[in-house]
């Protein structure tokens, strides 16, 4: 792996206390992800991949261990600081698109910048360019309800790019799409990867995972095995 790792997880444990029972969702995970890589995380339910995604996405804090994102330990930041980290350094793509109904396409794309205090009028061109990048330049004023699932997911991808994040986290991005639009969306990820973006993708589907360079298989809260995928882009 070339260069300094963009993301480094050191001895991460996540323990939930469910009444008397102690659930170790993650039980000592060490992981390094280089800048510009395309990583897929796979595993059966209960393997800890969702917890992993939440931790990587700074939505959750590890019980023990350290998480370095772009060289900074973000595992101990307070709520405001961690929110700022999410807003500035991460891009999210969800299974169910999660666009905001009352906003138009361009406004949805703008949301992360809004929370950085940047107004839409200043960043309109930037947002518009992203909408064009995902092929929705002519739908800027449409509402999410007026778009198909694939289009909505493309808006979500544009939104994840708007803050120029260190890493894009995608949680089953094709889970709600039919296979054809799913492929379109995945091709978009390929292009993003080719342009140098770092992508972490959580999925069930092997055909989705095989597009990634590295596939990390999780089981019982630990990394079970890791496959370097030669067929994947770039490598």
């Amino acid at each position: 792996m070339p260069g300094e790792a963009l993301i480094r997880l050191v001895g991460i444990q996540k323990i939930y206390q469910l009444g008397e029972v102690e659930v170790r969702a993650l039980n000592g995970v060490d992981l390094a992800i280089a800048e510009g890589s395309f990583v897929a995380i796979m595993g059966p339910s209960g393997s800890g991949k969702s917890t992993m995604l939440n931790l990587l996405g700074c939505l959750d804090r590890p019980t023990t261990g350290e998480y370095f994102l772009g060289g900074e330990d973000v595992s101990k930041l307070d709520d405001d600081a961690i929110s700022a980290v999410r807003g500035k350094r991460l891009g999210f793509v969800f299974q169910s698109y999660n666009l905001i109904h009352q906003l138009t396409v361009i406004e949805n794309i703008h949301v992360p910048l809004f929370y950085q205090g940047k107004d839409l009028t200043e960043t309109y061109e930037h947002c518009k360019k992203l909408a064009e990048l995902v092929g929705l330049g002519d739908r800027l004023d449409h509402r999410p309800k007026q778009l198909s699932g694939g289009q909505q997911q493309r808006v979500a991808i544009a939104r994840s790019l708007v803050n120029d994040p260190l890493m894009i986290l995608a949680d089953e991005p094709t889970g709600n799409l039919d296979s054809r639009t799913g492929v379109e969306v995945l091709e978009m990820f390929d292009r993003l990867h080719a342009s140098g973006k770092t992508i972490v993708l959580v999925t069930h589907g092997p055909e989705v995972a095989e597009r990634a360079q590295r596939v990390i298989h999780m089981k019982d809260g630990v990394i079970d095995r890791e496959v370097i995928n030669r067929k994947g882009n770039g490598a």
Partner: protein, 433 residues
């Protein structure tokens, strides 16, 4: 990160409006509580203000430095005269001696205005005749009662000294008695004597203020004919006999009303009690009543204060109910939009961003309701004024107050739902269906 650009705040408000427009009916129904609250506050205050304004104006016109004393037929006398057919003279009321006593005894008295009323009494001019109210008084009357001289002059001191047969009448009365002629310098006939019309006056005072004997109620009020007091005394004598329903009734009343003008409102405070004590001494029968406008004014103001307090509490209750309605809906909205909150948190929203968003929405609801309420609240008094003929006064303070309260209600009842939204766990919120 303290980037508080106005545009950003404006965007937040815009977002709030957009979110509310997503459920138009719900938003309007939610606002209704505030709308009705604000509207009723403004309308009720306007009606109350109007009513008390009219009362207070009427009282003020009586003169806050004045004490008005009226002759009243004592109760036992009244019952006697109505029994049987005997004609018999009832003697009561204020006297000329009272005027002198008031002038000499009471400190702080500026002027004393005596008045005698004979009403209704037939006033003739050629073939036409009208019932008028003959007011025997002195020249001071015009000044104390604020009469506007329309034409000619009012009674003069010389008229009084020489017991001249002159009279002054109201313009309305003159218009009726002289439909086609110039009334000035014409001679009218009252009880066999001719009186020259020397002037016309415009009545500016209200009905309450007109000197009226007790039995003259319900009579037209613009039919005053002013005649010098001394003239009345010499032409009519002290006893007036009138015939009613088959019996004769004679009354001996020297004066029907005395208006005492004190030097100041402060002098009224002390003086009014002294006047009462003084008069009580010389009037064994309870044959006079005192009207102290200053006291009436105080009472009216006190009544208004109580009225405002009652209104205020009703308004407060209705606004609180409206606020609870808003809070209820906002709590439901927060639950409904849990996912959106999760998404926003994931995209970098801090807790206080979420609080701001929902608080702004609540305030938009309540202030929006406030605006609509103010508009309706301004229309309603107009309608009341048109339809019911009641005077209404919309005060700026009632607008500002009710509008301000609606905003405050929005903040108070918005804080809890907003903080609940902000405290949601982002992961749970994202998973929420």
């Amino acid at each position: 990160m303290k980037l508080h650009i106005p545009a950003r705040h404006w965007r937040t408000v815009e977002l709030g409006v957009k979110s509310l427009l997503l459920h138009k009916l719900r938003s309007i129904l939610t606002m209704l509580g505030i709308i009705f609250g604000v509207c009723s506050v403004i309308a009720m205050l306007a009606i109350g203000e109007g009513a008390s304004y009219e009362a207070q104006e009427a009282i003020k016109k009586l003169g806050s430095a004045n004490v008005i004393i009226k002759s009243v037929k004592p109760a036992d006398d009244a019952s006697n005269s109505q029994q049987g057919r005997r004609s018999y003279v009832s003697e009561y009321g204020l006297t000329y001696a009272d005027v002198d006593r008031l002038k000499q005894t009471i400190p702080g008295v500026k002027r004393v205005l005596p008045m005698r009323l004979i009403a209704p009494y037939e006033v003739r001019y050629n073939e036409s005749h009208l019932d008028g109210q003959i007011v025997g008084t002195i020249p001071l009357y015009a000044e104390i009662n604020g009469l506007d001289i329309a034409r000619g002059r009012f009674l003069a001191d010389l008229d009084e000294q020489r017991e001249k047969n002159v009279c002054v009448m109201t313009t309305t009365f003159a218009d009726r008695l002289f439909p086609y002629e110039d009334p000035l310098n014409q001679f009218i006939k009252i009880a066999g004597d001719y009186y020259r019309v020397v002037g016309l006056v415009q009545e500016t005072s209200t009905a309450d203020k007109r000197p009226q004997p007790a039995h003259a109620e319900g009579q037209a009020i613009d039919n005053n004919v002013y005649v010098p007091l001394s003239t009345i005394r010499s032409r009519f004598g002290e006893t007036i006999v009138r015939r009613s329903a088959g019996s004769y009734q004679a009354e001996k009343v020297e004066l029907h009303q005395i208006t005492v003008q004190m030097q100041s409102s402060e002098a009224v405070e002390i003086g009014s009690d002294q006047i009462k004590t003084l008069l009580k001494r010389f009037h064994a029968k309870n044959d006079f009543e005192m009207i102290v406008p200053l006291q009436l004014l105080r009472q009216a103001q006190e009544t208004k204060r109580i009225f405002n307090i009652v209104l205020g509490s009703i308004a407060a209750i209705s606004l609180i109910v409206g606020g609870i309605g808003i809070m209820n809906i906002m709590l439901a909205t927060v639950t409904e939009r849990t996912r959106e909150i999760g998404v926003r948190r994931a995209l970098g929203a801090k807790k206080r961003d979420i609080i701001t968003q929902f608080l702004v929405e609540t305030v938009v609801l309540s202030v929006g309701g406030g605006v609509i309420g103010v508009v309706i609240g301004v229309i309603v008094p107009f309608a009341v004024e048109l339809l019911a003929g009641m005077k209404t006064i919309i005060t700026l303070s009632s607008l500002v107050l009710s509008f301000g309260i609606s905003g405050v209600i929005g903040v108070i009842f918005g804080i809890y739902p907003a903080s609940r939204a902000a405290d949601l766990d982002p992961i749970e919120a994202l998973r929420h269906e």
